[in-house]
Point group: C3
């Protein structure tokens, strides 16, 4: 049993999904591990991780639209507004999605389903550099 | 430290919860691992995993009712409708719940609380065969 | 590769967040593991785990306010009411947040971002003792 770590950066430019499947796959492959577990961890509280369909981009559009309606920027419910109208909604959207994801490795490949992609979900409007730590272990 | 993998299938027939606790327990026991970590991973974007109370079935009924009200089938917000009125809501419900779950193994048993069960949450109306990958490691 | 387990208890007194970052850090440090993975697992279905900002406490206030509005205690949608008006909402809030969280360990430290704290999110009004199992492995 061995393990490896890597931190990847994603430059974001608004409230949408950024696919990181290729980066995670490349790291998994380079580790040479054929059976094991990959964990992705997002080091932020206003961006998060989701596994979603990566075929029709309308799915991403609709997912974003739903979260915007559920937790609108500038919602008067919130008192934590000093960092912007989209900051507290970003924290809520992060709580509603994932900060960590674990995916088994089978025969040297991530056990992603046919339509599954791994995405960083950016919840802030301004550009950010987001850090995701990847950890893999196995044999 | 050793590890084992298994894929299980769940035949679903509508928008509800299907308990998989027994299958996950049996796999954990058969591995012979007494201290470790079990990860369950759902290979779909329109079905997900949740840990919920498995005592009163009204809890499952209410959970389903809540998610149906929050993300109604046929919601006019969505443009991704070609796969059916329940498809995009299924993607949203998946994002709001879990695709992967990790549970420690203590003294040869999953560290589930007294009332906790592991469930596949089917979000589509039509029957599906859902695949869940189980990974266990430890000693 | 080694592993360690520990169960911690959190005494709660109402619907709010209880930070457990220090306990998780102390366990990680005492394990002596410098590269690895920490998993926290909540053994309940009416309390859950979230990673959130631990700088401005208004973030916690707003997060609680949002979940109370989204899943109000006493919501007439629910039929599972015998354990109290806040019980079924607690199950829903648990499904919407996390039961397990995994965090890589880098250079002997949890890979938490600058503003990230680990919290138990109590969804019941009455006092409870909540159990969280911590599992760490690595080298």
């Amino acid at each position: 049993m061995r393990q490896e770590l890597k931190e990847i950066s994603v430059a974001t430019d608004g409230q949408r999904l950024f696919e990181i499947t290729d980066s995670v796959r490349a790291f998994t492959k380079s580790s040479g591990i054929t059976t094991g577990l990959l964990t992705a961890y997002c080091r932020h509280t206003s961006a998060s991780l989701v596994i979603q369909e990566n075929a029709d981009t309308d799915v991403q559009r609709d997912l974003i639209a739903f979260f915007r309606r559920l937790v609108p920027d500038g919602d008067p419910l919130f008192v934590h507004t000093m960092e912007g109208a989209d900051d507290m909604p970003a924290h809520v959207k992060t709580a509603l999605t994932q900060t960590s994801l674990s995916i088994p490795i089978v025969d040297g490949r991530l056990a992603l389903g046919t339509w599954q992609g791994i995405f960083l979900f950016e919840h802030r409007q301004q550009p950010h550099i987001r850090k995701i730590v990847l950890h893999v272990f196995g044999a």
